[in-house]
């Protein structure tokens, strides 16, 4: 099992542009307890800039909780989660550094897609022109005036992505972004994420679709029952001719149904 980066970020990494050097995201001994359940258990890993990292694990493994800890939505019981060397909450201009989509339906059903983006843009001082650009990027400009309740799941996924990209962030964190996308949408997303990383930016994407992950990511982090099972490059994990699926099922003990 490849070990993860254990060096702590130095203050000089606080403003890294994500293209070189130190880790963009660092989880150190990160734990989160809900009553009797230890959802995240001493999790330590780091993400390098300019890479796409797949974040894998069975249902209930603690992936979403980990992402929520990284994004300051939940407070760790122990340990620390840092993005660009700081806690998310302490970032000066978070929308311009980190974009994230956690749920596919975080919209008011009676608000239009355009107004959803506008209310976020206004809060972060982002221009209206950028809102229209993002609507075009995700090909929602034709339906942007319609209430979100009329959108398909795929359209909602794309609207969430547009919101995450409003601030032109250096780090993108996506939880199951391919859910509800049609094959063309999945291919679009894959190309988009690759291009995003090739510009020196960083992606952390959780997914269940191992075949899709294998085509998209450079690095893998696998967790199970809140604990780190493996982290390293895709090539390292799949050496000796094993498939990602074989490695994943062996590590997560889920070979059968």
């Amino acid at each position: 099992m490849a070990s993860s980066v254990d060096e702590r970020p130095s203050p000089s990494l606080a403003r890294t542009d994500g293209s070189v050097g130190g880790p963009v995201v660092v989880a150190s001994s990160l734990s989160k307890r809900f009553g009797d359940l230890l959802a995240v258990d001493e999790l330590t890993f780091a993400l390098r800039g300019g890479t796409v990292t797949g974040f894998l694990g069975p249902n209930g493994a603690g992936k979403t909780t980990t992402l929520r800890l990284l994004l300051g939505l939940a407070r760790p019981t122990a340990g620390e989660a840092l993005v660009f060397g700081r806690r998310y909450r302490e970032l000066d201009d978070p929308a311009r550094r980190v974009g994230a989509v956690l749920e596919s339906n975080d919209f008011h059903p009676g608000r239009s897609g355009r107004d959803h983006l506008r209310m976020l843009a206004v809060a972060a001082g982002i221009s209206r022109a950028r809102v229209e650009e993002m609507l075009e990027l995700v090909e929602l400009e034709r339906v942007a005036g319609r209430q979100v309740k009329t959108y398909s799941l795929g359209m909602r996924q794309r609207l969430g992505l547009a919101a995450a990209l409003l601030g032109d962030p250096e780090l993108l964190i996506l939880d199951e972004p391919a859910n509800g996308l049609d094959p063309a949408g999945v291919q679009w997303l894959r190309r988009f994420l690759r291009a995003f990383a090739e510009r020196g930016r960083t992606v952390l994407v959780s997914s269940h679709i191992l075949a899709e992950v294998a085509q998209t990511v450079d690095e893998i982090v696998i967790i199970d029952r809140g604990r780190l099972r493996a982290s390293g490059t895709l090539a390292q994990l799949t050496e000796r001719g094993r498939t990602l699926e074989e490695v994943y099922l062996e590590l997560t003990g889920g070979a059968g149904l």
Binding site: L73, R89, P94, A95, F107, S112, V122, A123, A124
Partner: protein, 245 residues
């Protein structure tokens, strides 16, 4: 801060929830005032305190809907999940809550002004149509809209604080409704000495219409401001401390 406040006001404007609540409030004010003003026998509309009851519905409904709108500015975000992007874009949650408090006060004030204005206008017209001399003087007509605006502007943040504490939308809206329309009525009827210090009675006191049973207007305003500050502070502290749903 000003960007966040603009965002909060934009949220109030960009769904049909608030216009629907606004229309519901208008309809209820009209219904209550007209039923009272037109259906009661004339001899039960003659005294000042009888006429106060006609106008009181404007204040009560304005305050109720201001509280509901304030509460929904947080419970609606929790219910629909927009609280997550909201706090991703503005992770300093205290600033978001401060903006919600101000926005809730502004939107509440509009609701209060309209509810009281319509109640006074339509109520006066109904009384005039019945041939009942109106006992209110110019001072009453000044204090009524001022009281309506002040009371509803404070009930917006009060509702927000309750919503931030309870978080569940249905539970919050039910609690506010039951408090104003059931529990406070029981208090006023059975324990009037304590009832007049309740937040709905304090709101009504600001209009100065019922000085025998209620506090003086300035005292009512101060007391209600205290309730609003306490609820908004408690709701903000809870939002800072707890994980985002």
């Amino acid at each position: 801060m000003s960007g966040q406040l603009s965002a909060e006001l934009l949220k109030h404007r960009t769904t049909f929830t608030n216009p629907e609540l606004f229309l519901a409030m208008l309809g209820l004010v009209l219904l209550a005032v007209l039923l009272h003003g037109l259906a009661l026998p004339v001899d039960r509309l003659a005294s000042a305190s009888d006429q106060v009851q006609v106008f009181r519905f404007g204040l009560l409904l304005g305050v109720l809907f201001a509280g509901l709108v304030g509460a929904m500015s947080i419970t609606g975000e929790i219910r629909h999940g927009t609280i997550r992007p909201t706090f991703l874009f503005a992770p300093r949650r205290g600033r978001v809550m401060a903006s919600k408090i101000v926005a809730g006060g502004l939107v509440g004030a509009v609701f209060g002004l309209v509810a009281v204005g319509v109640a006074v206008g339509v109520g006066s017209a109904a009384l005039a149509a019945r041939g009942t001399p109106i006992t209110l003087d110019g001072g009453d007509y000044t204090l009524l809209p001022i009281g309506g605006i002040t009371a509803a502007a404070l009930w917006g943040p009060l509702g927000l604080g309750i919503g931030a504490l309870l978080r569940n939308q249905v539970a919050t809206l039910t609690a506010i409704f039951l408090w104003l329309f059931v529990i406070e009525n029981l208090l006023i009827d059975f324990v009037p000495a304590a009832g007049k210090f309740a937040p709905g009675a304090a709101a009504a006191a600001i209009t100065g219409l019922d000085p025998d049973r209620l506090l003086a207007p300035a005292v009512g305003a101060l007391l209600l401001a205290g309730y609003a500050a306490a609820a908004a502070t408690a709701g903000t502290l809870a939002t800072l401390r707890r994980d985002v749903p």
